[in-house]
């Protein structure tokens, strides 16, 4: 019986590390799943030693990246290379519905945790493997990272400016997106098992594929090429009248212009009389490339006299498509995000209370049932004994596992 959250009777064995995999299980935990994060003894998830660190001082419990990616999870340390460690995982999956892993392809087999072995232990298990290039195919063993996966799969060839080299997207977005898809694939796998009474299954999520298949500029340019044979390449933002990233009083403001939207932009800057002039009065005239440069002397003084937020309000009022080029600080102070109480403060023994990004989506279950607060990320091995006790490992056995350095 599900209670408060959609997944709160679901247990996930989480063998992921770094970023994409932990992003996937973090989202499952957001919506109620009991996520058991299995970490290697002593060092734990390598993301624990990736910046940003609290006060810039490295430490296993001080990485902002790790703290953010692992809220709501419980941590158990297990040495997977030891037989007893492998057996503990096989024991854990007996009481679980989902296992997520993001080792290099082939590693799980080498650890004695192949899909066959896991499904033997629990025939209803959904196994989600998340990897750079998938579990099969010629690139399976290629080395992948954010840059080259975005280059090969994502919209990099179209990102950036025509006069420059292609440009990487921000941070770790390609990894996060694949993690999001892995969470989704796991949830649909669970549906198959529960609602259709199917056996467990092995899901193969590849970052290369999820990037190629993202409904962003990439997919649309791929389809555009398929239909027209045209390579999109990179463009200048200022490729249509009114379009571009324009300077304003406190930074820059992005406007989407073009023949269709320019009348609204003209009204926004109070130049209605322009529309009476011959070259501006017809759609064909407004679409003429000469209009691009002609319009800037009207637009730029207007934007320069206003702040990003002032322009945004005017844009909203005049149905102009545009947005402020904010910094992270602007985001933290944004009235909409504050009004909706998006950011959550989570306390932690090493860092004290810190603000985290909020939920991806909100379940409206009535005024009396707001979205719950998240728990902080676990300390390394914080829940080892508790989790082992739950699967019936006795106190003396736990001590034995400790002395053998299994946990």
């Amino acid at each position: 019986m599900v209670g408060i959250m959609p997944l709160d009777d679901v247990t996930v064995v989480d063998l992921t590390h770094y970023t994409a995999g932990p992003f996937a299980t973090r989202i499952l935990s957001d919506y109620g799943a009991n996520v058991i994060k299995v970490e290697r003894p002593i060092t734990g998830d390598p993301a624990r030693m990736l910046p940003p660190f609290y006060e810039d001082e490295p430490g296993l419990e001080r990485s902002g990246l790790f703290l953010w990616l692992n809220t709501n999870k419980r941590s158990i340390t297990i040495d997977l290379k030891k037989d007893e460690g492998r057996d503990l995982v096989l024991e854990l999956v007996k009481n679980s519905q989902i296992l997520v892993e993001n080792f290099s392809p082939g590693t799980m087999d080498a650890l004695g945790l192949s899909p066959t072995k896991l499904l033997e232990a629990n025939p209803k298990l959904i196994i989600t493997s998340l990897s750079n290039y998938g579990q099969t195919g010629p690139y399976r063993d290629y080395i992948g990272n954010e840059l080259n996966l975005y280059g090969m799969g994502g919209s990099m060839i179209g990102a950036g400016n025509v006069d420059h080299e292609p440009l990487k997207t921000a941070g770790r977005m390609v990894n996060y997106h694949a993690g999001y898809v892995a969470a989704l694939a796991s949830a649909l796998g669970l549906y198959t098992v529960e609602e259709r009474n199917e056996q467990g299954d092995h899901i193969d999520v590849s970052i290369f594929e999820t990037a190629t298949h993202s409904i962003d500029m990439r997919l649309n340019r791929l389809m555009g090429y398929q239909y027209t044979g045209r390579l999109a390449g990179r463009q200048s933002q200022a490729s249509a009248v009114g379009s571009g990233v324009h300077p304003c009083a406190d930074g820059y403001f992005l406007i989407t212009g073009g023949a269709r939207f320019i009348p609204n932009i003209i009204k926004m800057i109070g130049m209605d009389e322009l529309l009476d002039q011959e070259e501006w009065s017809t759609p064909e005239g407004r679409a003429h490339p000469d209009r691009i440069d002609e319009f800037l002397p009207h637009l730029i003084p207007w934007t320069l006299a206003r702040t990003k937020e002032e322009i945004r309000k005017e844009a909203e009022k005049h149905a102009v498509l545009g947005g402020p080029m904010n910094t992270i600080e602007d985001l933290m102070n944004n009235e909409q995000f504050i009004d909706r109480e998006y950011f959550q403060e989570i306390d932690h023994p090493e860092t004290g209370p810190i603000k985290y990004p909020g939920y991806h989506f909100t379940l409206h279950r009535g005024e009396d049932q707001p979205m719950p607060d998240r728990n902080r990320a676990p300390l390394l091995g914080e829940h080892s004994e508790e989790i082992l006790a739950e699967i019936g490992v006795s106190k003396s056995e736990i001590e034995k596992l400790k002395t053998k350095n299994v946990i």
């Binding site: 959609p6 009777d9 989202i27 840059l147 990102a159 440009l167 989704l184 947005g323 989506f361 409206h364």
Partner: protein, 434 residues
């Protein structure tokens, strides 16, 4: 609730009413449709959804000959009914059905009510004021079907000062600080270009929300209303940069293609027009291997370059060394050489590369579909693969109103007279009547 299945797919039997537009919402229903759910696009011949079925209803041949994938039509010809031929619609709409109804009229509202009664979920991603106009909200929907899952995807949420701020993904990205991280170092942000990642994030999130909602419904025997504010959802993709600010008060700034700690990393020119390769060095071993591949073995033991931070401070020099090798190389060969040497490297693949890629081909990434008004083309297969499910797309993207007979007659029990009446009153049709 759907009973006429032939081949079993994981989501067979689920029916989703789809009021989504543009990209983010349609991506969610694409995923559900790919795995077997019946997706019924609820459209109207009295309203042309710009950027969903083309930028404009009837572009001229001249307009579509211009660059820009939003106006891509097969053979650069918009054809008689351009809304069925636009690439960005066909990219996501396979396996979906399309019906038309004018919900601004009372009898159209009743049709929608009747569909709500026989559906498992309803999803929309419009600015809230647009849904108010056709009275689509949880209060109404849950009264008619208390067991339905409703998913709304407003850009910034259903309340607050930005409630009716109408944006695309690129503008949401601006609001959440995306372009303060993505950009060329030392260049003004107008050089960045836009990639619309917020739409992809929104679609994946909406599909997960739908799955979570349906599980909640099935286990609790009551419906649920879920709200995914696309900008809030996307802000999570900047999570580590947000934490850097909240933990250390440090503001991110664009670093181009470089890595914050490891070096070198960059995108380097290769032989041919607009050909590039992305290369990263994440360890000293990889640096030594790179020196060998680019024919500069002499540098591998040069103490000037031995650590990552040294290489960072000499990044411009190293970039020139790499490029003086790469610009004479074929990008594909360079990738193979570098990968064989254990270096993370990848061709910056253009569209042609993706369609001829041996890996994508072998794993069955592309599926060919024949559309009645688009001809035969390759489309993406599912977003992930599973070991047990044997599946393929059921059909190409629907023509506007293609499934009106099915929806009105089979699902809603309309007789010929009533169907004809709805044809003559602006509800049923396959051409816009505006």
């Amino acid at each position: 609730m759907v009973s006429n299945n032939s081949k079993t797919l994981p989501l067979d039997g689920l029916r989703v009413l789809d009021l989504t537009v543009v990209w983010a919402g349609p991506y969610a229903t694409q995923i559900f449709g790919d795995w077997g759910a019946e997706i019924i696009r609820v459209e109207s011949i009295k309203h042309f959804p710009s950027t969903t079925r083309g930028m404009v209803m009837r572009p001229t041949k001249e307009m579509v000959s211009q660059k820009g994938s939003l106006s891509a039509y097969p053979d650069r010809d918009p054809g008689k009914r351009p809304w069925n031929r636009t690439a960005s619609f066909n990219a996501h709409a396979r396996n979906k059905k399309s019906m038309t109804v004018d919900m601004t009229k009372p009898e159209g509202q009743k049709v929608f009510d009747d569909l709500l009664r026989i559906s498992d979920a309803v999803i929309e991603n419009n600015v809230p004021v647009s849904m108010d106009r056709i009275n689509v909200n949880w209060e109404r929907v849950s009264k008619i079907n208390p067991k339905i899952v409703m998913l709304r995807m407003p850009g910034f949420g259903l309340d607050g000062p930005y409630e009716n701020y109408r944006t695309f993904g690129s503008h949401m990205a601006g609001v959440v600080g995306h372009y303060s991280v993505m950009g060329y170092e030392g260049e003004s942000p107008d050089m960045t270009g836009n990639t619309l990642t917020a739409d992809a994030a929104g679609g994946a999130g909406a599909a997960l929300a739908l799955a979570a909602g349906i599980r909640y419904r099935n286990h609790n025997d009551k419906g649920i209303f879920i709200e995914i504010a696309t900008a809030e959802n996307f802000a999570n993709y900047l999570g580590d940069r947000i934490l850097d600010y909240t933990v250390n008060n440090r503001l991110a700034s664009p670093v181009g293609n470089r890595d914050l700690s490891d070096a070198p990393q960059g995108v380097y020119r290769c032989k041919g027009e607009d050909r590039w390769i992305g290369i990263s060095v994440n360890s000293d071993t990889q640096w030594e291997a790179l020196c060998k591949v680019i024919g500069r073995n002499d540098l591998s033991k040069d103490p000037k370059y031995s650590t990552s931070s040294q290489r960072h401070s000499l990044h411009d020099t190293i970039d020139q060394l790499i490029e003086s090798w790469s610009e004479g190389m074929d990008a594909q060969i360079a990738m193979k050489d570098l990968q064989s040497a254990g270096i993370p490297a990848g061709v910056v693949m253009n569209e042609e590369d993706a369609f001829s890629d041996p890996h994508l081909d072998e794993i069955g990434f592309w599926e060919t579909l024949e559309g009645a008004e688009t001809g035969k083309n390759a489309y993406t297969s599912t977003l992930w693969k599973t070991a047990l499910t044997d599946r393929s797309h059921k059909r190409a993207a629907p023509l506007l109103g293609e499934d009106n007979e099915y929806v009105y007659k089979e699902l809603l029990g309309f007789d010929e007279d009533k169907y004809a009446e709805f044809e003559s009153t602006g509800h049923i049709g396959m051409d816009y009547d505006i």
